[in-house]
């Protein structure tokens, strides 16, 4: 992980004919043969392609919004880029480290204190001890949890948990930010802080990959849009053009 030395023109993300399929229905029932025979190309009964033939290239500093209705593969695409899913077809090459703001609170442990959780989550996300020590106060003050450092994480309200998680994630150095709908949570004041933080990170030259249903958020942060429909990438254009097409499709 971590940024490698590279020229600014080298793409940070390259998706090539990316495809992934899932099973419909009872995922618990499989034969050993289909578990181990996943190399086959043909689609088996009860399977569908959540994404197929998706190709795009992302250059450093781009802010990309992924647009589409529910269940059209947006989050799946994000998780493929994050490397927490593996494609069945094609490839996605991510040439730098990514900060996955996907399931924000995923790395936190209920029984540990806020302090222990900050150390744990930050180190799982690749920060070194000295880096965490340096940023610790910043993380705590951004999350506004200074009085709760010794409180077990499970005693925080869900809003506080998300605040803490965002606060840790947004202090990572990774050049690519993957954001999945997380801004929909938290109160208004905190949301404003998050927005300001993302603006700041974009200004510092980070690349943003953003999934949202909120048009004003998309317009605010993104310059380019990817429109997914039925697992296909139907439009890769400016965010305005993509939203226009999306809204036109919705109007039908």
């Amino acid at each position: 992980m971590g940024a490698q030395n590279q020229t600014p023109t080298k793409p940070v993300i390259e998706a090539n004919n990316l495809g992934i399929r899932f099973r419909r229905g009872n995922s618990g029932f499989r034969t050993f043969k289909d578990l181990f025979g996943s190399k086959e190309r043909r689609t088996m009964a009860g399977e569908f392609w959540a994404l197929r033939n998706v190709s795009f290239t992302v250059h450093p500093g781009e802010a990309i919004g992924v647009v589409g209705r529910n269940g059209q593969g947006k989050s799946t695409l994000l998780r493929l880029v994050a490397g927490v899913l593996l494609p069945d077809e094609g490839s996605v090459d991510v040439n730098v480290g990514v900060a996955p703001l996907i399931e924000l609170t995923g790395g936190f442990v209920r029984d540990l204190t806020v302090r222990e959780n900050i150390w744990l989550a930050a180190s799982l996300l690749g920060l070194r001890k000295s880096e965490i020590a340096e940023r610790f106060d910043e993380i705590v003050s951004f999350a506004e949890l200074g009085d709760f450092l010794s409180t077990p994480y499970k005693h925080l309200s869900s809003g506080m948990q998300v605040r803490l998680a965002f606060s840790v994630m947004s202090r990572l150095d990774e050049p690519v930010l993957l954001v999945d709908e997380v801004l929909a949570v938290g109160d208004k004041a905190f949301r404003q802080k998050c927005y300001a933080r993302i603006d700041q990170m974009l200004a510092s030259g980070k690349t943003l990959f953003f999934v949202s249903h909120n048009e004003s958020d998309l317009r605010r942060f993104c310059t380019r849009g990817l429109y997914l429909r039925g697992g296909k990438l139907v439009l890769d254009d400016t965010i305005d053009a993509v939203l226009k097409q999306y809204n036109a499709d919705q109007g039908k």
């Binding site: 181990f36 998780r79 593996l86 996955p100 995923g106 442990v109 029984d111 540990l112 799982l124 996300l125």
Partner: protein, 251 residues
């Protein structure tokens, strides 16, 4: 992130959770094998006339029960690993085999921490420390290799077949008696010793016991067990690699 860094962070996390959530903390890793040893000691020396094993029997028991607890604990946890960690697996990219190896390591550290109990009973029971104690690290390696292999098979398959979680429990219970814990390999009916060595724990326990009971060291058993452990590791890596893709979708 480096593999060993991730492994160490998660191991520390598990140990911290374990010791910060219970008042007795460390005592539990000692109490459990002690209680079991006390029960077997009572049944096999006070109720029945003991014909198997060696004296002091409590030391004989502990040299195998502590490793058994390590095995049992890590494999039971492995059968739940991907359910328990699903949110992390879904959101942060870490080397996937870490989820198994971390359990083997965390339980392994608890095993090492419980060893003073063995030393204490060896002193109280007057067991003679033997030169075979140098084989102790070899036993740990042999057991760890076998556990990683078994864990890599069990952990992903349980995600696809929920029933395997209960099946694993049953197999572990069976395995407890199929492993030379309350008896020694040499107590088995003639012809069965070498067959029992296919279970890598038989070889590991033979090596562990060499510390106090030189007669328990059987190189034929150790050899077969080592080969079998290596096969399990390779099989585990194969199963894990092949099921990884489907595993990530199902978690």
């Amino acid at each position: 992130m480096g593999y060993f860094r991730a492994l160490w962070i998660l191991t520390q996390r598990d140990l911290r959770v374990r010791y910060s959530t219970s008042k007795l903390g460390y005592l539990w890793s000692v109490l459990e094998p002690l209680a079991m040893s006390a029960i077997y000691w009572f049944v096999f020396t006070q109720v029945f006339e003991r014909t198997v094993g060696e004296t002091p029997y409590i030391v004989f028991l502990l040299t195998a029960l502590l490793p058994w607890m390590w095995f049992n604990g890590a494999i039971s946890d492995a059968s739940r690993a991907f359910w328990k960690e699903s949110r992390l697996v879904r959101s942060i990219r870490l080397p996937r085999t870490v989820w198994v190896n971390q359990l083997v390591l965390a339980k392994g550290i608890e095993f090492l921490l419980a060893l003073p109990v063995l030393a204490l009973f060896a002193i109280l029971g007057g067991a003679q420390l033997h030169i075979g104690v140098v084989l102790f690290p070899l036993a740990i390696v042999l057991q760890a290799v076998c556990m990683v292999g078994v864990g890599l098979i069990v952990a992903p398959l349980v995600v696809f077949y929920r029933d395997l979680e209960r099946a694993t429990k049953l197999v572990l219970r069976f395995l407890f008696f199929a492993t030379p814990v309350i008896y020694g390999t040499s107590d088995l009916p003639h012809g069965l010793e070498l067959w029992s060595a296919i279970n890598p724990l038989a070889g590991a326990i033979s090596l562990y016991r060499a510390s106090f009971f030189p007669a328990q060291l059987d190189w034929a058993v150790v050899g077969i067990s080592s080969a079998s452990a290596a096969v399990m590791l390779l099989l585990g890596l194969y199963v894990f690699r092949r099921s990884e893709r489907a595993l990530l979708k199902a978690v």
